[in-house]
Amino acid sequence: MDGRLHIIGVGSPFGDDRLGWVAVEMLQRSATPAASGGGSVAFAVLDRPGALLLAHWRDADRVIMIDAVRSGAPPGTRHRLQPGAWAATEPVSSHGFGLAAALELARALDALPPHLVLHGVEIDPSNAGFSLSEPVRRALPDLVREIEREARVLAAPGVC
């Protein structure tokens, strides 16, 4: 374990699937030692990593994942999910091996980080192109603030 808090944005360049990447960019811009409670934070953005997500969890005991979610809720709805509730809500991935499958595989291999949480925003699947839809864009500032609050606690040395 490397003692850092890992914040991982998952997505692709397409439409609202960019959400995880954009959120990590915003978090990185505002990241200061004070904002992370003096602890160390590692940021990563991944393009549909499939099963290799497990490699990014390998050295981590505290992980915040950020991804687009599609559960039937109105676009822009924020989600905060613990692993237990995760598979049932069908996180979005445009590749065959999505977050839910990676989670199941990690669980089978006893490779789940002790602290893992998914922050997501309900997306508008009809939003094509390379930018976020308006409901998702509006949800972002609150999402980032909530993750920052959580990160301050989790990143503090000695917290697990």
Partner: protein, 432 residues
């Protein structure tokens, strides 16, 4: 005698293959009346998109054809353009492109073998189920897949749709320290890859010998990957610019991917075809492990493609490790590129099989016409022929679920990448 049934089996969406396809099977009086591997993924029209673009844009554009084998598309493309322009990028570029290609073989083969194919041999529905009983083997597979990605990232800046390759060489050379660290990873992976070969050879593989023609590249001194002549075990041995004389593509109504035939008949490309035609080109340690498994070559049982894939992972780890032994940073990672009008041909061995490119380029360096023949469209007719034979041999009186499972397993033996293979169907308008 078992009752003969009239049944129709539809697998509306094939699981554990790259892209979207379906299988339709109609059995009448105990005989397969109709069998179709339907490919309905929307056409990509990449060849048309390339028209009018500058030659230098091609490597990054064709990398987008596939998220699993972008390097294959890049290297077939630059080879075609460089051969037309008379560019010989030199031994450093040649060796490093081969290393990069090794990364893609390791990544793609490991992904397919562990995530998609291996569950079949243990009666598991998915890799998650397999991981509960074979955790160490799945972990090893993930480590190998990650190693392949690391190699691609080192040369291509990122592992998905890498951007390092250019006509004339690479955009940049990796730092020697990074290469040495990677070589240590490769050294550590050698015993893992060897163990993987032995593991796959221990699988209980169905007995299903079939007659088919294998086609692959062949090189005077190397296991084929980046260069060679096109050969088949039906006696073909031609330079890659003569592909169109021996291989013809045709459209079928049930697939957005073209069917490619060799002298009018289906044929096989991919790991088992390569091994059938080139096992004498494997380096000694890899050949020794292959021999120790007892696998006889040439092999006519497609279920052994899982072993062939493992052998090629071991080969690629060994080859990359060997090629990086004396790594030094070059003065320049690319050379001069004089533009010349005409037609260029490129052909390399993608993880799934032979990938052929042809570009007609104008005097200003613009692409006038492009033609790309991916491995899955070459294998498609063979997959259908295999399904007919293997399902008939398996027993058409078996329960539908068993037939469906066996059908999917047969298809997965070919590791089809449906996204790569889809082309645009001609539109015919009849007006009266």
């Amino acid at each position: 005698m078992a009752e003969r049934r009239d049944i129709s089996i539809q697998v509306p969406v094939l699981a554990r293959v790259e892209g979207e396809g379906a299988l339709e099977l109609r059995i009448r009086q105990g005989v397969i009346e109709d069998l179709k591997l339907r490919i309905f993924e929307p056409p990509r029209m990449f060849e048309k998109l390339l028209e009018g673009r500058e030659y230098s844009e091609v490597p990054d554009m064709v990398a987008r054809i596939c998220g699993i084998c972008p390097v294959a598309y890049q290297l077939s493309a630059v080879q075609a353009i460089e051969s037309l322009f008379g560019v010989e990028p030199g031994p450093w570029v040649r060796a490093m492109r081969r290393v990069l290609y090794c990364g893609e073989w390791i990544q793609s083969h490991s992904l397919h073998l562990h995530m998609l194919a291996a569950p079949d041999f243990f009666g598991c529905a998915s890799v998650v189920e397999l991981a509960r009983t074979h955790a160490d083997e799945v972990r090893r597979g993930l480590r190998l897949q990650a190693l392949g990605n690391d190699i691609i990232r080192l040369f291509g800046a990122r592992s998905v749709h890498p951007v390092g390759v250019r006509v004339g060489g690479f955009h940049r050379a990796p730092a020697a320290a990074d290469v040495h660290a990677l070589r240590e990873q490769l050294r550590a992976a050698l015993p893992e890859a060897e163990a993987l070969v032995r593991w796959t050879a221990s699988f209980e593989l169905p007995a299903d010998e079939q007659e088919f023609t294998s086609v692959a590249l062949r090189h005077p001194g190397e296991y084929p990957m980046y260069q060679g002549r096109l050969v088949s075990d039906a006696g073909v041995d031609v330079s890659i610019d003569r592909f169109e004389e021996h291989f013809t593509e045709r459209q079928v109504a049930h697939s957005t991917a073209l069917h490619c035939l060799h002298r009018g008949r289906p044929y096989l490309v991919g790991p088992l075809a390569r091994l059938n035609l080139n096992c004498d080109r494997l380096p000694g340690p890899v050949r020794a492990v292959l021999d120790s498994t007892g696998m006889r070559l040439p092999c006519r049982n497609m279920h052994y493609s899982v072993v062939a894939r493992a052998v090629e992972i071991y080969f690629a780890v060994h080859e990359a490790w060997r090629l990086l032994a004396a790594y030094t940073e070059p003065d320049s990672p690319s050379g001069e590129v004089p533009i010349r009008a005409g037609t260029g041909f490129g052909c390399t061995e993608a993880p799934r099989g032979t990938l052929w490119h042809r570009y007609d380029i104008a005097a200003d360096g613009g692409i006038a016409r492009a033609r790309i023949v991916p491995p899955t469209s070459q294998n498609q007719a063979r997959i259908e022929a295999d399904l007919r034979q293997s399902l008939q041999a398996y027993g058409l009186d078996r329960p539908e679920a068993a037939l469906r499972q066996r059908g999917e397993q047969v298809i997965r033996n070919y590791d089809p990448c449906i996204s790569c293979a889809t082309h645009f169907l001609d539109l015919r308008v009849v007006r009266s």
